[in-house]
Point group: C2
Chain length 203, copies 2
DNA sequence: GGCTTTGTGTACCCTTTGGTAAAAAACCAC
DNA sequence: GTGGTTTTTTACCAAAGGGTACACAAAGCC
């Protein structure tokens, strides 16, 4: 199941659990950003030494990318499940309320690592910055596709612009990540979600 | 006028213009973030040596804070002027369309440095992270005050929740900064602005 | 038991980081 | 010119950055 490494049968067994270590790394990257996280921060949080980190994950950049994958596959992810809802309105509703809940959850850093993990960063972080940007853009495209389908199904009025609607929803979702880091409560974000839905076309 | 230093009459004159150098520093910080910007990046962009930088601006942290001040006092700032508009709706309108224009202006990096300058960062950047967070929160509070005034003036319905309205608008504005870094065009952001205004109560 | 294979721990590599000491240079007042 | 004052230049510092060599330890295989 672990996407990171197939445990070999020979040789000394690993003394740590790869997914647990990845989860710790995710939390550090989430809180401090890519540039703001040092290898010492990582090895300390993960409870392993540098050679173990490099053997298991490649390097800092690859570790970050694997942490992002781990993040998106977590049980509490809300984006993809929301896309499956039967109507466009319910898609938006579940996504907005899911974000309000998830981004303020005190079990992990506030906000969203795909937004804040490497927003403005050094040349050395250009690859991960691009990777996160692509994920944000792809999220918008998935929303757009979903709304186009809704129009085709007659679930949304034919004169609705799916791209604008997706961009609007994406803007609010990404803005909620910033609000969460500002200290907004889940209740405040739920009210933002409610207002956002007021501008949302219903069949 | 320069808030940075009163030019002394004695001694060797400065070989660079403080405000020009500050503008260059702002651009680097804006593009790379606080953690992602090194002193070499700064001195190269500003065209000065490190001792000159330290003499004129203190250190990296103080230079960043002065760059933020410079940023907020620029001619093309839109936030404070929008607050002065006669009605709450016009306040929101000017702020949203101002953001759509400003955050995609190719004369400088995309987005907003108050949002992306130090969103997730190292312990060493905790001070500037906090400073930016405070500015974002204060922006929301100013919006809230403005909307409360609008309610008192009868410009907004009495049953409107000024706090929710301010949080909603702040969320969209901060989300627009992310969209701009994603590569959104000013036209796309204008359409987001238009949709946002649909949820805005009118008298 | 030995052999092979893999992971761990320590100690190290070079580069870059933020920041400064000290001397030379450019100005003003006299 | 001389003295006082400030800025520039060059060279440097200690610490931290990402990354690795190497010896040793722990497992399966035979």
């Amino acid at each position: 199941m672990s996407a990171v490494s197939c445990t070999p049968t020979m040789g000394r067994p690993r003394a740590f659990d790869v997914d647990t270590a990845l989860e710790k790394a995710l939390e550090v990257f989430w809180r401090n950003g890519y540039d703001g996280t040092s290898l010492s921060d990582l090895t300390e949080a993960m409870g392993i030494n540098k050679p173990s980190l490099y053997a298991a994950f490649g390097n800092k950049e690859q570790l970050f990318l694997k942490a992002i994958e781990f993040y998106e596959n977590r049980a509490c992810s809300f984006f993809l499940p929301a896309l499956e809802k039967p109507t466009a309105y319910e898609v938006a509703e579940h996504m907005l309320y899911g974000a309000a809940m998830n981004m303020t959850d005190s079990d992990h850093p506030q906000g969203c690592i795909v937004v804040q993990g490497a927003l403005s960063c050094s040349e050395a972080a250009a690859t991960v910055k691009e990777a996160l940007k692509n994920r944000r853009v792809e999220g918008g495209e998935k929303l757009c596709e979903r709304f186009k389908r809704a129009i085709a199904e007659g679930d949304l009025p034919a004169d609705v612009d799916a791209e604008v609607l997706a961009c609007y929803l994406g803007t609010v979702l990404q803005g909620m990540a910033i609000q969460a880091t500002n200290g907004a409560t889940s209740e405040q974000l739920r009210q933002v979600a409610q207002m956002t839905l007021q501008a949302f076309p219903r069949r």
